[in-house]
C-alpha cells in the first residue's frame, strides 16, 4: 500500500477546525519493544462536521481519539482542540477542557452506576460549574428519547438507552467536540440506528463537531467523511461515504 494522503495544512490553527493534529506520533512500550500506535499523523476535523475514523483492529484509532481529546500525551507533534494548543496543557487546563469543550461517548457506557440517568447528566453540568437547570437536563434527555427514563439507574436501562444517556451527558454542556469511540459497538442494529440518527440530528441542528471511531461501515456511512488508518498512518479519506464503498475500502485495508 503506497497511497499517501496529503492534507493541506494552514500554519495557524484555523477556527474552521474543531480538532487538528500536526505531525502527531504516539509510541507505547518499554525498553524492549516500542509500538508506534500513531506515526506522524496530520489531520484536521472541520467544525460542524462529523468525521468517522476507521481501520483494522490495532491500527491506532482509539489512540488517535485519545490524543485528539487530550486524554493521552503525544510523543511528538502538536494537538489543537477548539483553537487551543493542548500539546503541553497541564492537568488543570485539560480538566477545564473536559468540562467545557469536549464530551465523550464510549463503547462501554461509562455511566456512574449509582446515579440515575438524570443525575448522570446533571453531574457534567455540575462539574462544569453551571447552575444545574433541571429543565435543561430534562430537555436533553427528551432529545435522546429518554424523557420517561430520567429516574432510572443505568442497570435498569438497555444498552441502547444507556448509550443515549451517555450522549445526553456528553452533550449537555454543549461541547465544541463530541468524541465517540465505537458508540454503536455494543448495540444491536436497531439501537445503533437510533444512536446514529441522534448524532446526525445534532450535527444538522446544532452544527455539532463529532469525531467518531468505528469499525461498522453502516455507522461510518452516517458521517460526513471517513478517514482510514493503518499501522498508525492515515492511508485514505472519503467524503460523503456510502456503506458499500466504506466496506470495500476497509476490506481492502484488512486484506
Amino acid at each position: 500500500m503506497t497511497t499517501t494522503v496529503n492534507f493541506q495544512l494552514p500554519q495557524q490553527a484555523p477556527a474552521a477546525s474543531a480538532v487538528e493534529l500536526r505531525g502527531v506520533s504516539r509510541e507505547y512500550g518499554s525498553k524492549h519493544a516500542t509500538v508506534r500506535a500513531l506515526n506522524d499523523v496530520s489531520l484536521s476535523f472541520p467544525t460542524g462536521t462529523w468525521t468517522a475514523v476507521m481501520g483494522p483492529s490495532g491500527s491506532g484509532k482509539s489512540t488517535l481519539l485519545h490524543c485528539a481529546a487530550g486524554l493521552e500525551q503525544v510523543s511528538s507533534g502538536q494537538v489543537f482542540l477548539a483553537g487551543r494548543d493542548i500539546t503541553f496543557a497541564n492537568d488543570d487546563q485539560l480538566t477545564d477542557m473536559r468540562r467545557r469543550e469536549v464530551g465523550f461517548v464510549f463503547q462501554s457506557f461509562n455511566l456512574i452506576g449509582s446515579l440515575t440517568a438524570e443525575q448522570n447528566v446533571a453531574l457534567s453540568l455540575k462539574l462544569a460549574g453551571t447552575r444545574v437547570d433541571k429543565s435543561l437536563v430534562r430537555t436533553v434527555l427528551a432529545n435522546v428519547g429518554l424523557a420517561d427514563r430520567a429516574k432510572h439507574k443505568p442497570r435498569e436501562l438497555s444498552g441502547g438507552q444507556q448509550q443515549r444517556v451517555a450522549i445526553a451527558r456528553g452533550m449537555v454542556t454543549r461541547p465544541a467536540v463530541l468524541f465517540a469511540d465505537e458508540p454503536t459497538g455494543a448495540l444491536d442494529t436497531k439501537s445503533a440506528r437510533v444512536v446514529l440518527d441522534l448524532l446526525r440530528t445534532m450535527v444538522q441542528t446544532q452544527r455539532q463537531s463529532i469525531v467518531m471511531v468505528t469499525h461498522d461501515p453502516a455507522a461510518a456511512a452516517a458521517a460526513d467523511s471517513v478517514v482510514f488508518l493503518r499501522d498508525g498512518v492515515i492511508v485514505d479519506h472519503l467524503a460523503r461515504p456510502s456503506a458499500t464503498v466504506v466496506a470495500e475500502r476497509l476490506a481492502h485495508l484488512e486484506g
Partner: protein, 663 residues
C-alpha cells in the same frame, strides 16, 4: 460531591460499612483503655486499711496502669494501622469510578475533596457509634481485668467528658489522615483508566512506599538491637514495639512478596485450572492481596510477639530462680515463727525473707557543672548548685538475714556487696527502675511507723521479671512489724537429715512447707499464669479487632470482583469453581500474612531473647508453639470461610446481569 458519595453508598456498601466498623471498634477500644487507664492512675488506696495492704494495692494499681498503658498503646497503633489501611484500600478499589469522574470533567481537587469529605463522614459515623460501643467495651475490659485479678474487685472506671474529644480526634482524625495519602494518589488517576478494566496500572511499590517500608524495617532492627542491650524493664518496652514497627514495614513491603508466594502457589497447584487462575489473580491483584494480608499480618505479629516474649521472660525468670537459689525447703509463715524453724532439729540454716511495707524519700543529685574559667578582671563565678530531685516512693521491702541470704541466693551484686548490709543500710533492686539511686545515697524511710535513715550499700543485679525490690537487714525492722510480716524461709537441711521428718515437724509447728523444686515450679507456674493474663488483656480485644479487620478486608476485596467473577463464569467456570478459585487465592494471601507477621514478630523475640539470655546467662527464645498452631489454623479457617461466603454471595446473581452494565 458528597451527595455523589452518599449515592455510591448503595452500590459499594461493603466498602463503607467496612470502613465505619473499623473506625467504630478502634474508637471504642482506645476510649475504653484510656478511661480505665485514667481511672487507675487517679486511684488512691483507702487510708483505713493496713500499710502493707495499702502498698500492695497501690502496687497492683501501678501494675494495672503499666498494663493498661501498653493496652492503650496497642489499641491506638492498631486503630491507626487498620483504619488507614482499610480506608486506603477502599479508595484503591474505586479507582475506575474516580477515573470516570475525571473523564466527565472532575478535577484532581474534586476527587481529593470527595474522598476526604467521605472519610470525614465515615469517620464521624464510626466515632458516633464508637463512643457508646466504647462504654460496652469498657465494661467488658473491666470485667476481664477483675476476673483475671489484675485490678481489685469493685473497681469501676469513670466516664470523662473530654474522652469525646479524644474519640473524635482518633476516629475522624485517623480516618482523614489515613485517606489523605490514598486520596492524593487516587486524584492522579488518569481519566483513560475509566475505559480500561485493568484497574490500577501504576506500580504498587511507589518510591514512597519503598522508603517508608525500608525505614520502618531499619527502625525495627535498631529497636531489636537496643532491646537486646537494655536492662530488663526497658527491654520489654522497646522489644515489643519492634514488632509493631516491623509489621508496618512488612505491610509496606508485602507487595514485593506477593508474586513470590504466587509462584510457590503456582508450583504447588501446577497443572490444575483453579491453581493457575488463583496464582494469576494473586499476581494481578497485588494491591488487593497486600491489603488483605495487612491486618492478618499485624495480628500475627502482635500475638506472637506478645505471647512469645512473655513466655520467654517467664521461662527466663524460672531459669534464673533455679540457678540462683540454693536450699531444700521453703516455709511460709509469719515473721514470728522464724526462730522456731531455725531451732527445729535437722535444719542447718534458715534464710527468712519477710515482706515489710516501706515508704521513703530520697534525693537524686544531678551532675555538678564545673564553673567556667573566670574572664580577666571578673570575679570568679560561684559553682552552680547541683540540681536536686526529691523522689517519694512506697514499696514492699524484703527483710533478710544478710549472711544466710548470701548462702541461699548465690548472685553477685551489680555494685557494692551484701557483706555491708548491716545496721541502717539497704540494697536496692527493682524498687529503683529508673536507676537514679547510687551507692551511698541516703534514703529516708519509714518502716511501719518507725523512721530510719538507710544508706545504700549494694545494688542488686538486673533480674528478669522484677526480682526483690529492696533488701533490708532484719535488725532495722522494728520487732512488731517483723513479727507480723508474711515470711518465706528458705531452709538448708543438715547433712543426713531426713527431709520427710523435718517437713512433718515444720508442718506441726504451723506453716506451709514446700520442697524447693516444687516451690520453684509453683512460682514459675504462677508467673506463667500472670503473664498469660497480661497477654490476654493486652491482646484480647485488640486481637478481636484485628480479626474483624481481616474479615473486613476479605469482604471489601471480594465486593469489587463481582464482574470479574461473572466474566470467569461466562468463560465457562462453574460457580463452585469460582468459589474454589477465590478460596485458594485467599489462602495464598493468608500464607503471606502469616509469614510476614511471623517475620515481624521475630524482631521482638530476638531482642527479648537476647536480653533474657544476657541477664540469666543462659536460655533463649521460647516460641509459643501452641499459639502459633492456633493462629495458623485460625487464620486459614477464618479467611477461608469468609472468602467462601463472599465469593458465594458475589456469584449469586446470574453472570449476564453483571457483564453488561457497569456497576
Amino acid at each position: 460531591m458528597l451527595k455523589l458519595s452518599l449515592r455510591t453508598f448503595a452500590e459499594r456498601w461493603q466498602l463503607f460499612v467496612g470502613s465505619i466498623i473499623t473506625v467504630m471498634i478502634g474508637v471504642a477500644l482506645v476510649q475504653s483503655s484510656l478511661l480505665i487507664l485514667i481511672s487507675l492512675a487517679t486511684y488512691e488506696p483507702p487510708a483505713s486499711i493496713p500499710m502493707l495492704q495499702q502498698i500492695e494495692l497501690a502496687n497492683a494499681y501501678e501494675g494495672g496502669i503499666a498494663l493498661l498503658g501498653v493496652t492503650t498503646g496497642f489499641s491506638v497503633f492498631l486503630t491507626a494501622f487498620i483504619v488507614s489501611s482499610t480506608f486506603a484500600f477502599t479508595v484503591s478499589q474505586r479507582r475506575q469510578d474516580l477515573a470516570l469522574l475525571r473523564l466527565v470533567g472532575g478535577s484532581r481537587g474534586n476527587v481529593r475533596r470527595l474522598l476526604l469529605s467521605e472519610a470525614a463522614v465515615l469517620g464521624s459515623i464510626g466515632t458516633a457509634l464508637g463512643i457508646p460501643f466504647g462504654l460496652l467495651t469498657m465494661e467488658l475490659q473491666t470485667n476481664l481485668l477483675i476476673s483475671l485479678q489484675l485490678v481489685p474487685e469493685g473497681f469501676t472506671p469513670d466516664f470523662q467528658f473530654w474522652i469525646v474529644a479524644v474519640a473524635i480526634g482518633v476516629g475522624v482524625g485517623i480516618a482523614i489522615a489515613g485517606v489523605y495519602v490514598a486520596a492524593r494518589r487516587a486524584s492522579k488517576v488518569r481519566p483513560l483508566e475509566a475505559l480500561r478494566e485493568s484497574g490500577d496500572v501504576r506500580k504498587v511499590m511507589s518510591p514512597g512506599r519503598w522508603i517508608a517500608g525500608l525505614f520502618c524495617l531499619f527502625a525495627a532492627l535498631a529497636m531489636t538491637i537496643l532491646s537486646a542491650l537494655l536492662p530488663s524493664v526497658g527491654a520489654m518496652a522497646v522489644g515489643i514495639n519492634a514488632a509493631l514497627v516491623a509489621s508496618i514495614a512488612m505491610a509496606a513491603l508485602s507487595p514485593v512478596v506477593v508474586p513470590l508466594v504466587a509462584r510457590i502457589f503456582g508450583f504447588l497447584f501446577r497443572g490444575g485450572l483453579i491453581g493457575t487462575l488463583a496464582q494469576a489473580n494473586l499476581r494481578d491483584g497485588v494491591r488487593r492481596s497486600a491489603a488483605t494480608a495487612a491486618p492478618l499480618l499485624v495480628l500475627v505479629a502482635m500475638l506472637l510477639a506478645q505471647w512469645g516474649s512473655s513466655e520467654t521472660i517467664s521461662d527466663g525468670a524460672a531459669e534464673q530462680a533455679r540457678r540462683d537459689t540454693r536450699g531444700d525447703l521453703v516455709v511460709s509463715t509469719q515473721g514470728a515463727a522464724v526462730p522456731a524453724i531455725a531451732r527445729t532439729s535437722g535444719v542447718e540454716l534458715v534464710s527468712p525473707e519477710s515482706q515489710v511495707p516501706l515508704t521513703s524519700t530520697f534525693n537524686e543529685v544531678g551532675e555538678v557543672e564545673e564553673p567556667e574559667e573566670p574572664e580577666e578582671g571578673e570575679a570568679p563565678k560561684a559553682p552552680e548548685p547541683a540540681e536536686v530531685i526529691t523522689h517519694k516512693a512506697s514499696a514492699v521491702a524484703t527483710a533478710v538475714d544478710p549472711v544466710a541470704y548470701q548462702r541461699t541466693h548465690v548472685v553477685p551484686m551489680a555494685e557494692g556487696s551484701l557483706a555491708d548490709l548491716r545496721g541502717a543500710t539497704v540494697a536496692v533492686g527493682a524498687f529503683d527502675t529508673e536507676q537514679t539511686i547510687k551507692l551511698g545515697t541516703m534514703i529516708e524511710a519509714k518502716i511501719g511507723d518507725h523512721p530510719v535513715k538507710l544508706k545504700v550499700v549494694a545494688l542488686l543485679p538486673d533480674s528478669i521479671g522484677g526480682g526483690a525490690t529492696m533488701l533490708l537487714p532484719r535488725d532495722v525492722v522494728p520487732a512488731d512489724v517483723l513479727a507480723a510480716a508474711p515470711t518465706q524461709t528458705v531452709v538448708h537441711l543438715a547433712g543426713g537429715a531426713d527431709q520427710g521428718a523435718v517437713v512433718d515437724k515444720l508442718r506441726e509447728q504451723g506453716g506451709e512447707v514446700t520442697p524447693m523444686a516444687a516451690w520453684l515450679a509453683e512460682t514459675s507456674k504462677k508467673n506463667d499464669q500472670q503473664q498469660t493474663k497480661i497477654s490476654t488483656v493486652v491482646m484480647g480485644l485488640s486481637g478481636l479487632y484485628a480479626l474483624i479487620a481481616v474479615i473486613n478486608a476479605v469482604v471489601i476485596g471480594a465486593a469489587a470482583r463481582r464482574r470479574e467473577f461473572a466474566a470467569a463464569r461466562v468463560s465457562g467456570l462453574r460457580r463452585s469453581q469460582v468459589v474454589r478459585m477465590a478460596l485458594v487465592e485467599s489462602w495464598g494471601v493468608t500464607a503471606i500474612g502469616l509469614v510476614l507477621g511471623a517475620l515481624a514478630a521475630v524482631t521482638t523475640l530476638i531482642g527479648i531473647g537476647a536480653s533474657t539470655a544476657r541477664i540469666t546467662g543462659s536460655g533463649g527464645v521460647t516460641i509459643p508453639w501452641l499459639m502459633v498452631g492456633l493462629v495458623v489454623l485460625g487464620a486459614f479457617v477464618v479467611v477461608g470461610c469468609t472468602s467462601i461466603w463472599t465469593a458465594l454471595s458475589a456469584t449469586r446473581a446470574r453472570p449476564v446481569t453483571l457483564i453488561g452494565a457497569r456497576e
